[in-house]
């Protein structure tokens, strides 16, 4: 059971206090998008082994959505950050590279 820190209220809590919300930084495709774009938005997920960016909600707490950067293999948590971004912030990327030298985000 993971321990995560909510970047809004600052509470560090057990996984049961949060609700997982799948892959972070998806781009929404609406009317006018191609079938391929829409399919990838709705169904295709990276499901990476290793460094991953996830959405979480502080469901039994302040109710806010946030993102977590963590490793699915070692269970390391590189950091959590607010959800109002379209890509991981620089300091999160730096924290990952510090422990995974040479790591680059998947395309």
């Amino acid at each position: 059971m993971l321990i995560l820190t909510c970047p809004y209220c600052g509470v560090t809590g057990e996984e049961t206090e949060f609700a997982a919300g799948g892959e972070a930084h998806l781009k929404r495709f609406g009317p006018g998008s191609s079938d391929a774009e829409f399919e990838s938005y709705l169904f295709a997920r990276k499901n990476e082994k290793g460094v991953t960016f996830e959405r979480w909600r502080h469901a039994n707490g302040c109710g806010k959505w946030f993102h977590a950067a963590r490793c699915t293999v070692t269970l390391e948590v590189f950091g959590t950050y607010k959800a109002q971004v379209t890509e991981p912030p620089k300091e999160i990327l730096a924290a990952i590279r510090k422990r995974r030298p040479g790591w680059e985000p998947a395309a």
């Binding site: 321990i3 609406g30 109710g63 959505w65 070692t74 109002q84």
Partner: protein, 1003 residues
């Protein structure tokens, strides 16, 4: 025979006799006995039958690794199957019965499987699925179903109480043998908060049995002294009878405390589940002795060598008068010497090693024990009990050199560290060539949130084999854990132990090395599931190369003991059959819990009334007092109907419908979701959420709306009211309020975070009551205070003000097709308002109605219900709701999905009304059956019933359903299959059965 000795028994109290029964037989034991020890003391070696072949099974081990001695424990509300006799403490009045036999343990018809063993090899279940096809259904399935399952499921509710504990510690030490004690001491002395847990009732593990000498004193005394020291430390907590069940992410661990198993009927909780957060975890879980694979190694009387020693030393019980010891290592010599000292006969030690000169071997020879080196056991004689063994050369094919009479065999195939807890959360293993076992690789420990190792092993669990090594390793582990948790360890040296020189063990995976097939199919690997050496070899021949696949194909290690004894032996046999090295083949995955834990412990206090909190409307108590028949709706309870004396529920429902249609009815609609959406961008936001246009709704007006998910499927519906320029109130379904509130938050927080909108879920802030029926207006007028006339408050309008002195918001909306007002008042005024309505309504014959009347009336009007007409695959267009889908909007959630080729297509199952030709009520959920069959040989189906009721208003059955191209088939008669395999004919009609023009609601 097995019997109680006059001497020894360090754990029993001979002054206190306890009575118990086994299969109805009254027996006696002593306080401190395990059930297994007491059974052996009464010469009850035969304790069960194996799963597949129903072979006689005896006690094999003395701890939690026991695969055979599983019993039904207790009776009635305290019956529990598959309890290990070896870990069950004896208590006065214990009742146990053996499992998996018919009609009796001694004579079991299922044993015929044993004679058929040649025809029931590995994977035979899977083979039966395929050849011949018909046989599965008519021959194999009934047979397998009848014989499946060990033990009996209890039929009564559990009489005991369970609870959860939460603990937060710096260092959790799992295992209270000498390693765990020393690790806890080292961590405790550093100042860390330590929790030390031990699954057995007593501390010290094997060391006192094995005669270890620590710091110049017997291990027993050292254990006592160390315990005293630990108890004196305020920062150390000790718990026995508590197993480390599992290790999980970020230092989370589960402890399973058997608080009162040995004192049933006390007022203590039976089990406690400890949910522990530890900065560091030390696993001092010891090692498990491995069986040896020789023919007949499953016959009752063949036991692990350490277990034989345990029974003699701990319980004063001898498993047999004449015990042959068979081994590949030095440790089993301790068993031989222990038996000899107890005055018992050891006719022979059979050692596979060609030459043994270690001090233990010399001691055995000096004690007059015959030692046969380079030999093995060709075969054990006996059926329900060992009668002798046949000796052979280990290097040969099993030619019998000599037969030796005996009534027990003590076997030792070496030791495997208990690596389960290390492995649960990702700790990796390395193969130790010298000891032929897997042990934890300290370089690849489970890691925490910062990438730090959070588990360290101690003692035999690390692979340390002598007491001195064990203590040094445990001391280092305790100090390392304390340091990692932020403490500075003291510089005390690790305790020293007397030297225990020994000779290396010799890995032996089959005895003899060149055994014939006949011998190999009598060599048991998994005693509980009946997997033999020949089965694993067959799996390898049939192409199972992965250890995980072999496990599932043969069921090796899949029994309740999870292969504690069988896994290493099995994978060694597999590796040999594949011509690979053991580490290449690897182990199967270790999963928690270490041994089975009770369902009660998992549930804890969450049973009965507190299993799930119940939501109550402000009027709940009134409903209860007026005989409501309840229906669960989400976490709410809603009145289904209010049956009067002498009335059935169904009669009550029909009365409530007719009374509402003819006069006036009252519904508690408080559970309806009420979400306020407010802000400059609220209209824009709602236009994205709903399929229709909400931004153009005028203040004071209401509009019905639909919400879809991004897949385009309908997910919720309800009436939206515009409160003021930047405020809307969204009504949702009763079950959907929280979900829709979260759905709104999700989009606002993660997609449109720059939009200025707030949402708040006000569901419980208001009581909402529907006054419905031709006399509804009269009732409200009687209450007075607000003009509710058609002119002031027209259909789909709302207004706010005082109604009979209550702060009311009155919506003129209708889910029944009648003249209807839904009135929201603050929750605190809800009950008083309901009672005030009941009072003024009496003159008009007003009666409350429940959810079933509500459902019937909405179905009579052809209104859809989320969850009935929708199931997560239905789009609004399927339900003829095109009118509620805006054509003008560029975008809304679900719009893109609804443009996909298979959605934007009339060739779908669509909503229609259904009228049976004979007026009967269609069975719920039944399918419209077409001609012919589909590709799978099933009847063609082209529609299904989604809502079906008897309409008291129309005096006949009415239904709605989704039918292929339904709206184009008006008037067509189709047939539906019923559960009793007959057909009902129904005509496709308009789904609006009552008041098609909507005149009644608009008056």
């Amino acid at each position: 025979m097995s019997t109680r000795l006059a001497t020894q028994g360090r754990l029993i109290n001979r002054d206190k006799r306890l009575e118990f029964t086994f299969n109805g037989k009254r027996l006696q034991g002593y306080e401190g006995d395990t059930l297994a020890a007491a059974l052996l003391a009464n010469d009850q070696m035969l304790v069960g039958r194996s799963f597949k072949y129903h072979r006689p099974r005896g006690i094999l081990a003395s701890g939690s690794e026991e695969p055979n001695a599983l019993v039904n424990l207790g009776e009635g509300a305290r019956l529990e199957p598959n309890q290990r006799a070896t870990t069950t403490e004896l208590f006065h009045g214990l009742t146990a019965t053996s499992q998996n036999h018919f009609p009796s343990l001694e004579f079991d018809i299922g044993e015929i499987n044993n004679s058929l063993a040649r025809f029931l090899p590995a994977g035979f279940y899977y083979k039966t699925f395929i050849h011949p096809r018909f046989a599965w259904k008519h021959v194999f399935e009934p047979f397998i179903r009848q014989s499946a399952g060990l033990g009996k499921a209890p039929k009564e509710a559990d009489a005991d109480r369970y609870e959860h504990f939460y603990a937060f510690v710096d260092v959790l030490v799992i295992g209270g043998g000498v390693a765990g004690l020393q690790a806890a001491r080292a961590a405790g002395e550093a100042g860390a908060r330590v929790l030390l847990i031990e699954q057995e009732p007593h501390w010290g593990g094997r060391a006192p049995v094995d005669g270890a000498v620590i710091e110049g004193k017997p291990a027993e005394d050292w254990v006592k002294d160390t315990l005293q020291a630990l108890e004196a430390m305020e920062n150390v907590t000790l718990r026995n009878r508590m197993m480390g069940a599992g290790v999980y992410d970020h230092g989370y661990a589960l402890g399973y405390e058997r608080v009162a198993d040995h004192i049933p009927g006390s007022d203590l909780p039976r089990h406690r589940l400890w949910r522990i957060r530890a900065k560091q975890i030390v696993t001092a879980t010891g090692a498990i002795e491995r069986p040896l694979s020789f023919a007949g190694n499953d016959i009752p009387g063949v036991m692990l060598a350490t277990a034989v020693r345990d029974y003699v030393v701990n319980y004063g019980v001898s498993p047999g008068d004449r015990t042959v010891v068979v081994t590949n290592n030095d440790d089993a010599y301790r068993t031989a010497l222990c038996l000899k000292r107890a005055g018992l006969d050891v006719p022979m030690i059979v050692d596979v090693r060609p030459l043994v000169t270690s001090p233990l071997a010399t001691e055995a020879l000096q004690a007059g024990i015959r030692v046969e080196t380079g030999k093995g056991i060709a075969k054990v004689k006996g059926r329900k009990r060992v009668t002798g063994v046949a000796l052979c050369l280990q290097a040969g094919e099993g030619s019998v050199i000599e037969e030796v009479k005996c009534d027990a065999v003590a076997m030792s195939g070496g030791f495997s560290p208990v690596v389960h807890l290390w492995s649960h959360c990702g700790g990796k293993l390395i193969w130790d060539e010298a000891n032929a076992h897997f042990r934890p690789d300290p370089a690849r420990a489970p890691t925490g949130a910062q990438g730090e190792a959070f588990v360290v092993t101690a003692g035999m669990a690390s692979g340390a084999m002598t007491t001195g090594e064990v203590l040094a390793d445990a001391d280092a582990a305790g100090k390392a854990a304390a340091r990692a948790a932020g403490f500075t360890p003291r510089r005390f040296a690790a305790p020293k132990a007397a030297e225990e020189p020994s000779e290396p063990m010799a890995p032996v995976w089959m005895m003899p090395q060149g055994a014939s097939y006949d011998l190999r199919m009598k060599m048991w690997l998994d005693f509980q599931n009946d997997v033999k050496v020949s089965d694993v070899q067959l799996a390898a021949r049939e192409g199972y190369e992965s250890v995980e696949h072999t496990k599932r194909y043969t069921t090796l290690g899949m029994a309740t003991d999870q292969g504690k004894l069988s896994n290493i032996n099995g994978l060694a046999v597999l590796a040999d059959a594949l011509g690979e090295d053991i580490p290449q083949v690897g182990t199967t995955t270790f999963r928690p819990p270490y041994t089975p834990i009770s369902m009660g412990a998992i549930a804890g206090e969450a049973r009965g009334e507190i299993f799930q909190p119940l939501r109550r409307t402000p009027i709940h108590g009134w409903h209860e007092a007026h005989g409501a028949h309840w229906e669960p709706v989400g976490h709410w309870r809603r009145p289904y109907a209010y049956p009067k004396a002498g009335e059935t529920v169904e009669e009550a429902v029909h009365r409530e419908v007719l009374n509402t249609r003819r006069r006036v009815g009252l519904l508690d609609a408080s559970t309806l979701g009420k979400i306020v959406v407010k802000g400059p961008d609220a209209g824009r936001f709602l236009d994205m959420l709903y399929t229709n246009m909400m931004s153009t709704l005028k203040v004071g007006r209401c509009r019905y709306g639909l919400m879809c998910n991004e897949n385009g499927f309908l997910s919720d519906d309800g009436v939206v009211a515009r409160i003021d320029e930047d405020t809307w109130l969204c009504h949702t379904t009763s079950g959907g309020a929280d979900r829709i509130h979260q759905w709104m938050e999700e989009w606002l927080q993660t997609e449109w975070w720059d939009w200025k909108v707030y949402v708040a879920n006000l569901t419980e802030q208001y009581a909402q009551i529907a006054v419905v029926g031709p006399d509804a207006r009269h009732v409200l007028e009687r209450l007075g205070g607000m003009d509710v006339s058609k002119e002031t408050l027209p259909f789909m309008g709302w207004q706010e003000g005082k109604l009979g002195g209550f702060d009311a918001r009155v919506f003129r909306i209708s889910f029944s097709g009648e003249l209807s007002y839904e009135i929201a008042v603050p929750a605190s005024q809800g009950l008083a308002f309901w009672e005030a309505l009941m009072e003024v309504g009496e003159a008009y014959g007003m009666q409350p109605y429940g959810t079933e009347a509500l459902h019937i009336m909405r179905a009579e009007k052809g209104f859809i219900m989320i969850g009935d007409e929708t199931d997560g695959t239905v789009i609004p267009q399927d339900l003829g709701l095109h009118w509620a889908i805006s054509k003008k909007k560029e975008d809304y959630l679900g719009k893109r999905a609804q443009a996909r080729s298979f959605m934007d297509n009339p060739d779908r199952w669509q909503l229609v009304g259904l009228e049976t030709l004979d007026g009967s009520v269609l069975p719920d959920g039944c399918y419209a059956i077409g001609e012919g069959t589909n590709a799978n040989g099933q009847a063609e189906m082209f529609g299904r019933v989604t809502s079906t009721y008897y309409s008291p208003t129309l005096g006949r059955g009415i239904a709605m359903g989704l039918v292929h191209n339904g709206p184009q088939r008006m008037g067509e008669v189709i047939r539906f299959g019923t559960p009793d395999k007959s057909f009902v004919e129904a005509r496709i009609v308009d789904p609006v059965f009552y008041d098609k023009e909507g005149e009644k609601q608009n008056v």
